[in-house]
């Protein structure tokens, strides 16, 4: 599911052409919008965002969080140092985890990131026959039977203070899936918590929110601040974005 930038609906993959599917979030248009020649528009202001009495409170809370981040200023020397790698080693084979999402599996039982090699490794019984056991290869807990059970486990991990679980729950609030209501402010709050615990990807998402104006007003300065913090913490995607933004003024666009 991806959002069309013209009609702002979440649509499945069939309703986009291949070319549009690969585009950025701010440029993507669905087939219907292209046929009707609808141009890309900024997202409509949510009524809740305008009318809610708590809005001012939430905004001041987010501002306070931003100032906390902004106080930890990054100088150039710190920014251009080789950061620690984004993920740790796989706890089973002790090799570095790859950056691409395909190579990583998150286990909701023990909260570990496991590489795809160890996740799909065949299991043998005493006679040497291959068995199909649906168990976590690190802690041997059976895999969750349904997505609800996985969310239950995630909540437990969150209470224990697992940064990855907190970040995932924030993403659920952003998309409004798995039984969570859509609430951008709640998502931003959770991502802030995950970022404080040292999860770089959370700051990247906050940066995107400030860039596109999702739940907050568009503020490129703040977005850049968050991207830099994420880059220093080791996020490769924000490092790549920072490099692109340096070139944008020279070449315009790509």
């Amino acid at each position: 599911m991806k959002t069309c930038a013209a009609c702002h609906k979440d649509l499945p993959k069939d309703s986009y052409s291949k070319k549009q599917w690969k585009l950025d979030e701010c440029q993507r248009r669905c087939k219907v919008c292209i046929a009707n020649n609808r141009e890309v528009q900024p997202p409509p202001q949510q009524d809740k965002y305008n009318n809610d009495q708590n809005t001012n409170e939430i905004i001041s809370k987010l501002d306070a969080m931003y100032l906390e981040i902004f106080d930890k200023k990054i100088n150039d020397e710190e920014l251009f140092k080789q950061p620690p790698s984004q993920y740790e080693d796989c706890p089973i084979c002790f090799l570095l985890l790859p950056v691409l999402n395909g190579g990583i599996r998150y286990q909701s039982c023990c909260g570990k990131l496991i590489c795809c090699g160890c996740f799909y490794a065949p299991v043998y019984d005493n006679q040497g026959n291959e068995v199909d056991n649906q168990k976590c290869s690190f802690c041997r807990t059976p895999h969750p039977a349904s997505s609800e059970e996985a969310v239950e486990r995630m909540k437990k991990r969150m209470e224990a203070g697992d940064a990855e679980a907190i970040y995932n729950q924030g993403s659920y609030y952003r998309d409004g899936r798995n039984g969570f209501p859509q609430d951008y402010n709640k998502a931003l709050e959770l991502w802030h918590r995950a970022g404080e615990l040292g999860y770089a990807e959370a700051y990247v998402n906050i940066g995107y929110s400030y860039n596109t104006g999702r739940g907050v007003e568009v503020d490129k300065e703040k977005a850049k601040c968050y991207f830099e913090h994420a880059a220093v913490m080791g996020s490769t995607i924000s490092r790549h974005n920072l490099g692109r933004n340096c070139l944008r003024t020279q070449y315009g666009g790509e």
């Binding site: 080789q82 590489c115 490794a121 340096c246 944008r248």
Partner: protein, 77 residues
């Protein structure tokens, strides 16, 4: 985002180099593009290729290759 620095190319190259060393393939593609239009030097491109090779050496393993070959959605580099 705007950044009105004079040495933008320099900064971008530094960012790209770090991204490539930590395993971002898109950054390597960008350096290649810059090299083909003559903005990046041959040295830079070579250094980027070498550091990406080092990263690949760190993550590659037989087990992962096997998983990537048999299951969909396991591409890891």
């Amino acid at each position: 985002m705007e950044e009105n620095n004079e040495g933008n190319m320099d900064r971008a190259m530094k960012h790209y180099m770090i991204a490539v060393r930590s395993g971002r393939q898109e950054a390597l593609a960008d350096i290649k593009k810059l090299y083909t239009i003559g903005q990046a030097s041959k040295d830079d491109f070579m250094k980027a290729l070498q550091s990406y090779q080092i990263y690949l050496g760190e993550i590659k393993s037989n087990q992962r290759d096997k998983a990537a070959a048999t299951y969909e959605g396991c591409r890891y580099y």
